[in-house]
């Protein structure tokens, strides 16, 4: 029996089915993806990327619960750390963009095209 199909694992009380969590995480992932693709403010794009990372985090935690394995939860700690580092560097880049161009709208940054 593949792990993924074991929805009925009944541990402490009747759990919320796995598919509910997966639907939520997929929704969050696609909201983030749409944010990156459609929003023009660089700050909001960065926030959308964080949303995508957090969707993956939900997956890890849910799977970790259903699989009785700790790996997923440990992974989430690392992802949070990495996301923080990425946000720090991202904000530094944005600060310099703003100093040089006085805007954080990514349509304004189009010096290079093919």
């Amino acid at each position: 029996m593949p792990y993924i199909l074991c929805f009925t694992v009944n541990r402490f009380m009747s759990p919320i089915p796995l598919s509910y969590y997966l639907v939520v995480s997929t929704l969050i992932f696609f909201i983030g993806m749409l944010g990156v693709l459609t929003r023009r403010n660089v700050l909001i794009i960065l926030m959308s990327i964080e949303l995508m990372l957090n969707a993956a985090n939900i997956n890890f935690i849910v799977f970790s619960y259903y699989l009785n394995s700790l790996r997923g939860q440990i992974f989430v700690f690392f992802v949070m750390t990495v996301a923080a580092a990425e946000a720090a560097v991202g904000l530094a880049v944005i600060v310099y963009l703003f100093r040089n161009k006085n805007t954080v709208n990514d349509d304004e940054f189009s010096l290079m095209r093919w």
Binding site: F29, M52, A56, N59, G72, V79, E86, V93
Partner: protein
């Protein structure tokens, strides 16, 4: 638990050197204009890590097999350290001339190398992700290193947004794979999926196991491929490459076209051939299509470029396509295919770094201000052979090698790649590869036409700092030596991949 610390000694050493370089900057060279000391410490750190590598026992797994040190990892770590030290050498004078001689540059460079080294040894998706992010975040910083230059800013922004997007896709793929297989460890996933293939074959003929045909597994495969293809700049995910390569400082571009690409391919070898080896029928078709698109688009768009830096960016996309061809072939002929991939990456590292170094060394006089600025356009190369025959000749070696003309590394590398495709019964793929390298001859040799057959149009000068020339000679010699004595290194490459399977 096996805590054999010696296996991560090179990584520890690189970390300490990186922190040391930042410390030197803080306490010693802080008020000094000249940061050569930082570069020297960086180089010696990388040199010691490089010398340590051959003495470590290959085939160690530590930290509950999170981290593996096999010959493949050692080979790739050597590639990273060599290309990293070449980058440090060519950066010294370049940063001074551009007015951004800051000590952090070397620290961040070392951290990016650390990320690549971790990726080369990762036997678990946790470590792959961490190494990948360490490398990528360092490159966000490096590509935006010329803080007041708008192009550099723009490169950093584009890399940041698209890189973050690709990492998120990759991570989501990992999370789904974790859910389907129950672990993030590569060897466990490989064993689990192979077992599923076997049980599936046992039950009803023609019906594969429920796991192998599960939609989440296919989805995770596609997301992992998207993330990896972004890192190696393969076609549907190549959009960032020309812009970031053009905007970033040239020394960073040189390294970015070699290091992250090699790291992406070593992860690809481990993930596709080992972890997802059971799904090879699925990813082989996808990768074959991606490989053809990558080669063709890279080569055709490169023809239209007037800016040499941008042209080399497209050429590096095309080379990613050739290497992907090797990975497709290694789905059928495991050892020969992946050995040719590893060999090509090494020869590509030398020739591409060399081409970027010549571009970096060449400067022209700006007509308005009279200052010497970096030469970027094809026109700026015209008549270089009359002004500086030696530089012109080195560029000739690198361009011949990138085209694939004997007796250079590029020829042998392409020969092994296309041969492995033929061995794998993928003759059509090899033919497309050969046609593509014929197309690429047009734009590589066009530079040589400008260098050797045209009269100078602008006042040129070539950076004559000794550090840059040491690197340039090493790369030119390596390009020629690999081309003349390929067997030596090919046997090493073959030995390094044997341990993988």
């Amino acid at each position: 638990m096996n805590l054999n610390w010696t296996a991560i000694l090179p990584e520890i050493f690189i970390t300490l050197t990186a922190l040391g370089v930042l410390g030197i900057d803080l306490f010693y060279t802080r008020y000094q204009k000249d940061k050569t000391l930082n570069a020297i410490v960086t180089l010696s750190g990388m040199g010691i890590a490089f010398l340590l590598l051959p003495f470590l026992s290959a085939k160690t797994q530590i930290f509950t097999s999170l981290f593996v040190l096999d010959p493949l990892a050692i080979f790739f770590k050597m590639v990273f350290l060599i290309s990293g030290s070449m980058t440090a050498l060519i950066s010294i004078n370049y940063l001074k001339m551009e007015g951004f001689d800051l000590g952090e540059y070397y620290g961040v460079l070392l951290f990016s190398i650390l990320g690549m080294m971790v990726m080369a040894s990762a036997n678990d998706f946790i470590l792959i992700y961490l190494g990948l992010e360490l490398m990528t975040v360092s490159f966000y910083v490096l590509s935006g290193f010329f803080k007041t230059d708008l192009r550099s800013n723009e490169a950093a922004l584009k890399y940041l947004i698209l890189g973050g997007f690709a990492s998120a896709l990759f991570l989501y793929g990992i999370s789904l794979l974790y859910g389907v297989t129950g672990s993030t460890e590569i060897s466990y996933i490989a064993g689990y999926l192979t077992e599923q293939t076997r049980t599936g074959a046992d039950s009803v003929a023609g019906v594969t196991s429920a796991v192998l045909s599960h939609p989440l597994l296919s989805l995770s495969l596609i997301m992992l491929l998207a993330g990896l293809c972004f890192k190696v700049a393969a076609v549907p995910f190549h959009m960032w490459t020309p812009d970031v390569y053009e905007g970033a400082p040239t020394s960073v571009t040189a390294f970015m076209s070699v290091g992250p690409k090699a790291a992406g391919f070593v992860v690809m070898l481990r993930v596709l051939l080992v972890a997802l080896g059971a799904l090879e029928k699925q990813w082989m078709v996808i990768l074959a299509v991606i490989s053809i698109l990558t080669m063709t688009l890279g080569n055709i768009v490169a023809i239209a470029q007037q800016n040499v830096k941008r042209m080399l960016a497209y050429s590096s996309i095309a080379h990613a396509g050739y290497i992907l061809l090797g990975i497709v072939a290694s789905a059928r002929v495991l050892t020969a295919g992946s050995a040719s991939v590893v060999f090509y990456i090494l020869s590509y590292a030398f020739m591409n770094l060399g081409a970027f170094t010549v571009l970096l060394a060449l400067r022209k006089e700006d007509k308005q201000t009279g200052l010497m600025v970096p030469a970027m356009d094809l026109e700026d190369f015209s008549g270089l052979s009359k002004r500086d025959p030696l530089t012109a000749f080195l560029m000739l070696i690198f361009m011949f090698s990138l085209t694939g003309i004997p007796p250079t590394a590029g020829f042998v590398g392409k020969f092994y790649l296309f041969m492995s495709a033929v061995d794998a019964n993928l003759v059509w793929l090899a033919v497309i590869g050969v046609i593509n390298s014929a197309i690429s001859a047009y734009y590589y040799l066009r530079i040589l036409v400008y260098i050797y057959m045209k009269e100078p149009k602008v006042v040129q000068s070539v950076d004559n700092s000794s550090s840059l020339w040491v690197a340039l000679y090493v790369m030119a010699l390596a390009t020629l030596l690999i081309g003349i004595l390929p067997n030596l290194l090919f046997n090493v490459a073959r030995a390094s991949v044997v341990s993988l399977f």
